[in-house]
């Protein structure tokens, strides 16, 4: 535990001294102010076309930001020789990975919190109305995206040899999971027998964190009906009495299993040399 905290503390220090973090902070603040502007035109409450576009905008920006910062952080450990040095220390590989995850999560969540805080503060000063449930669901949506995509980022960083490789793979993953997802999904499911479509849809949705978090927030905002009949079961689950707990459980399993997978990659490299 002490090692995890030490690695996390170093990560937070390095994170807040990294110019990339400030570029993303500025970008996210500008983005939050953009959302505020959209809200000024029509007060956002529940799921509307405006909320849907806002969710999509967040979906474009946050995963990419997380993938870059997370994967670069791990590849730089390899490129700079830091991991080689640390592997001569009496520190466990899991402590190192968890420390990196916690530290990066703190940095990224601070960026997100700052952006939303700024948005809330300015709307408060200007006396603009903002539905608190919608506001907190947006915050949850953003935090969920960061926490889940950070796992993918660590996975990319573990497999990439350098930052260029990590950058290429990050953009590819972002494109596939965020931009191209509906098109690829429809094309793929169209090739499957009819009875397979529903179970496959569940599996693919769970595998794609962007889709998983988006579905949860859209349904919680009351927009379940726009998703179509294939998602009826999802609407029932999420709106059920234990829907939020179930969602958190799925996210937790997602995070733990991917952290363990990342650990396995690093440990394999360490043991085989």
């Amino acid at each position: 535990m002490v090692d995890i905290l030490q690695v996390a503390r170093r990560e937070i220090k390095m994170g807040f001294r990294n110019p990339w973090a400030y570029s993303f902070l500025a970008l996210f603040c500008a983005f939050s102010l953009g959302l505020l502007l959209i809200n000024a035109q029509n007060e956002i409450q529940g799921y509307t076309a405006v909320t849907g576009s806002m969710l999509s905008l967040i979906l474009y920006l946050l995963p990419l930001m997380t993938l870059f910062l997370g994967s670069f952080s791990l590849t730089s450990e390899k490129e700079e020789g830091s991991w080689q040095l640390l592997s001569t220390y009496p520190i466990g590989t899991l402590s190192f990975i968890l420390g990196k995850y916690v530290g990066l999560a703190v940095v990224l969540l601070t960026v997100v919190a700052f952006g939303y805080g700024l948005m809330g503060m300015i709307s408060g000063f200007l006396g603009m109305a903002y539905d608190s449930t919608t506001y907190f669901l947006f915050l949850l949506f953003s935090a969920g995206l960061v926490l889940l995509f950070l796992n993918i980022a660590l996975f990319i960083g573990s497999l990439s040899r350098n930052r260029w490789q990590a950058l290429t793979v990050s953009v590819a993953v972002w494109f596939f999971t965020v931009i191209g997802w509906p098109t690829f999904l429809i094309a793929f499911l169209g090739l499957m027998p009819y009875l397979w479509i529903k179970p496959l849809l569940v599996v693919f949705t769970i595998l794609n964190p962007a889709e998983l978090v988006r579905l949860f927030v859209v349904i919680k905002l009351g927009g379940g009906s726009v998703l179509g009949p294939e998602y009826y079961q999802w609407v029932e689950w999420i709106n059920g009495s234990k829907g939020s707990l179930l969602f958190m459980g799925v996210c937790l399993v997602w995070m733990l299993s991917s952290i363990l997978f990342v650990y396995w990659i690093w440990e394999r490299g360490r043991s085989r040399g």
Partner: protein
């Protein structure tokens, strides 16, 4: 040799079907200094990385203080202080912050005092708050040396420790290593500067193309060949 601290037995390393190091064996008694000498690509760093537990030998085994890395990794690592050659320091930490982090991971008691002490040893006390990525090559080497000394390890492993050091710090480094040896620590380091090896090493291993081409006590090389240069050339089959 009675009870050597380091026992390297027939290690080889094959990476992508290429043999980097082949059948290297040596022992280092407690409180002595061994220098791995050889040109570029001789396999010095690979041998040191294997001794430090960063990479594992394809064949053979290494024990430090009777411990094997794969059997008791934590205890094995606790005995070691490693100074790498290719550390880049782009992390935006100050000298003091970097050393404090390393000291914490090694559970160094009285961390602050020890960090001050090693900063003093390498002459960087007044640069403690400067970011390490603004340091010159020689200053970075000194920070890495300080890092390796932090936990007073029984075995100090140093990869090209004098690279980038100016003549003053080169001499200081020689004095420091002598003092460390007198305190009972064991040292293994790589160098292509034979004069450094000549000054401080008790034993020399000459490497060429990943093979041990000559090894023995420094004094013996002197007695037999007159100088380490002649001994090295002889080992390589040169006149």
């Amino acid at each position: 040799m009675d009870n050597p601290l380091v026992n390297v037995r027939g290690i080889s390393k094959v990476i992508k079907k290429q043999t980097i190091v082949e059948e290297i064996s040596f022992q280092i008694p407690t409180g002595s200094i061994l220098a791995l000498c050889g040109g570029n690509g001789a396999g010095k760093s690979t041998v040191l990385r294997m001794v430090a537990g960063i990479i594992q030998p394809s064949v053979g085994e290494i024990s430090v203080g009777g411990l094997y890395w794969h059997k008791s990794r934590k205890q094995f690592s606790e005995q070691i202080g490693y100074m790498p050659d290719d550390y880049q320091f782009n992390q935006g930490l100050s000298a003091e912050e970097a050393l404090t982090f390393w000291a914490a991971l090694r559970r160094v008691p009285n961390r602050k005092a020890r960090v001050n002490e090693v900063l003093g040893l390498v002459g960087l006390q007044d640069k403690r708050n400067r970011l390490v990525n603004t340091f010159s090559k020689g200053m970075r080497q000194r920070i890495l040396f300080a890092q390796a000394l932090l936990a007073r390890p029984s075995l100090l492993i140093m990869d090209e420790p004098t690279n980038g050091l100016d003549p003053f710090w080169m001499n200081e480094f020689v004095d420091l290593l002598q003092r460390i040896k007198e305190e009972g620590h064991t040292v293994i380091f790589s160098t292509h500067q034979l004069e450094i090896a000549d000054k401080i090493a008790d034993q020399i291993v000459f490497l060429s193309h990943g093979r041990n081409v000559g090894s023995g006590p420094t004094k013996e090389f002197h007695a037999k060949f007159g100088s380490l240069y002649t001994a090295f050339n002889h080992s390589l089959g040169l006149k």
